[in-house]
Symmetry: C2
Subunit: 154 residues, 2 copies
């Protein structure tokens, strides 16, 4: 064998990273989905919408939700519909623009989300406990930079 033989599979580091990242995300997401369902009778997509609305107490447009959550418009329509019939969310008309309506949490929605958010935070701490806080911070800022670059390009 030639001592100078180059590696047969070079520059695959990013591909491997992507695969592992995806699998880790799936594992954690599956666990969260299950706990939300059993402990709060809640789905992950609905939790995500409520989370966005909890940050924006004055409400959001459907398109705001769609953009923020990175999902399609039609998708948000269905999820909000179900949250409305759950009694956690309301659509209210907006003065001066009859195309849009503002989506807000109801009081029941705020109370329920606060409960879930508290549990959710603990679950994440538990599920990611094997990642040191140091690593978490470094990785987190790496991902922030990644996202910033992405936003700048798209």
């Amino acid at each position: 064998m030639d001592a100078m033989t180059p590696p047969l599979v070079a520059h695959k580091d990013r591909l491997r990273l992507w695969i592992r990242l995806l699998r880790a995300a799936r594992v954690v997401e599956g666990e969260l989905r299950e706990r939300l369902k059993t402990q709060f009778e809640m789905t992950l997509p609905r939790f995500d919408v409520m989370s966005a609305l909890y940050r924006e107490r004055d409400g959001m447009l459907m398109s705001d939700l769609s953009r923020f959550l990175l999902v399609s418009n039609g998708n948000v329509t269905g999820i909000v519909d179900r949250l409305v019939s759950d009694g956690f969310v309301v659509r209210s008309n907006r003065e001066g623009d009859r195309r849009t309506s503002i989506v807000r949490l109801t009081e029941a929605g705020e109370i329920r989300f606060a409960e879930m958010a508290s549990a959710h935070e603990n679950w994440i701490e538990e599920l990611l406990k094997d990642i040191s806080e140091e690593d978490a911070r470094r990785l987190s800022s790496m991902l922030k930079a990644f996202r910033s670059n992405w936003e700048a390009e798209h």
Copy 2:
């Protein structure tokens, strides 16, 4: 203000990491989905199944696929059904156990996957280009450790 006042929001590093990781994964996944669709008329779940079968040329059981891809059994049934009608996959009976069948790529499936895999690898390189190879390796091994710990505990 008390100089010793502790941070109001401590130990949120992992939560922030999780949120950013999820968003990054969604951005990349959305891009991959769109490219697979427009350039290969292929969905991401079907690509994932073909990818698993390409690694295991002798074929896999449905339950192997389910376990490997981290999705439910019923889900795999549907995706494989569609891949069979696409002509990319076959189910063949297995001697000695009539509960199971071996799922394999057809020759057309192997050829098609090889084309897609090549493009896919380039896409990942492109999409993750802002992550240095050094960072990619470090993060990758961090995620590997995370997954190993997870497996050990579950």
